[in-house]
Amino acid sequence: MRGPFEFTLALGDDALIAAQRLAEWTTRAPEMEEDVALANIALDQLGAARLLLTYAGELEGAGRDEDALAFLRDDREFRNCLLVELPNGDFAVTMAKLFLLSAYQLPLYTALAGCADERLAAIGAKARKESAYHLDHAALWVKRLGDGTEESHRRMRDAVDQLWPYVAELFAANPAAPVDPATLRADFDATVDAVLAEATLTRPETGWAPAGGRDGVHTEHLSYLLAEMQVLHRAHPGARW
C-alpha cells in the first residue's frame, strides 16, 4: 500500500469484500431483524466500495471503472485486509468481525473527511456517518453476547480471540498514504477496550500477526469468495438486467 491509488484501492477492497461476506447472511441470519440489519450494512459497505473503486480507477488512469476493478481482478490483485475475507463463522464471529472493522473504519473515514484530497474527503464525510451506525450496532451485539449467557459469552470470547491476530494488519504504518493507518490505532484501542470491558471480555494479547492482504497475499478464502462474486460478470461480459 503506497500512494493514493493503492490506498484508495485497499479501502475500496475492504468495503467490497466485507459487503460480499455480510450479504452471505441474507435469508440465513438468526432472526428477521438481524437479516435486515446485515443486508443494510452490506449495502452501505457496497456503496462505499463503489465510490472508492470508481475513484481508484480514475487515479490509476488506465481506464478501469468500478466493475472492472471488482470483477476482473484475481486474488493477487486485491488489496483488502485479511480480516474481511475470513469466513463468517457463527453469528458471534460475524459480529466481532463487524465490530473490529467498524472500529477501524470510523476513525479512518473521519480522518479522511479532513484530508487534502477532495474526493477522498467527500467519501470519508459520507461514509463515516454510516460507519458510526455499524459500530453502534456491532458493539451492542458484542456486549449482549459477551455479557449474556455462559454459552454466548464463550462464543463471543472465542470470536474475539480468533480474529484478534488480524487487527495488526489494519494499522501497518504507511506515511505516504493520505491518512497513515498507524495514526488511527489509539482511537481504535479506546473504542475496543470500552466495549470489551462492558462485554465482560478481555482484550487478547497481540502475538501472531498475519499480514499480506495489502500486498495481494491472501488466505485461500478470498479465492472462493471471488469465484462466487465474479462468476456472472466473467461468464457473461457486459450482461445487463
Binding site: M32, E33, V36, A37, A39, N40, I41, L43, D44, Q45, L46, G47, A48, R50, L51, A121, A122, I123, A125, K126, A127, R128, K129, E130, A132, Y133, D136, H137
Partner: protein, 158 residues
Amino acid sequence: MTTPREAVAAVVDPEIRVVTIDELGILRAVDEDPASGRVVVTITPTYTGCPAMDVIRADIRRALAAAGHPDAEIRTVYRPAWSTDWISDTGRAKLAAAGIAPPAPVRPGNAVPLTLSVRCPRCGSPETEQVSRFGSTACKALWRCRSCSEPFDHLKAL
C-alpha cells in the same frame, strides 16, 4: 410553462413515494450552463449504497424531457453529506401523515444522535420502542407503539 426547477422538484422519491426529492433534501441545485444552455441538476444520495439513485436519475431525465429539456446533465455530489436535517417541514409533515415518524434533529458534532423519544405517527403517543435498528430501506428503522400496538417506520436521524 414549467421551469426546470419546478419539473425536477416535483419528482417523487421512488422508495418513499409521498415525498419529493426536493422535500427530502436529495435535490441540491438546478442550474443552467450559461455556455451550452443545458440544465444541470445536482443531487446527493441519502446513503452511499442507496439503490434508488438510478431510478431517481431516470425520473429527473424524464421530468426534464417533458418540460422541454431533453439533454440535461445530472451530477451526483457527496459533500456536504446528506443529513436528515435537510428534510423540509413539508416533507416531515408528509412523512408523518404516511405513517413514517420523521427524524429528530441531528445534534452538531454527534454522528449518531441518541433518539430520546419517537412519537407514534398514528396515535401520537411517545410510548414507543425500537423493534429493529434497520428497516425496509437504508434510511429507516422499525419501531412499534406501545399505546396503539401499531408498528411503524422511523426515518433514522443522520
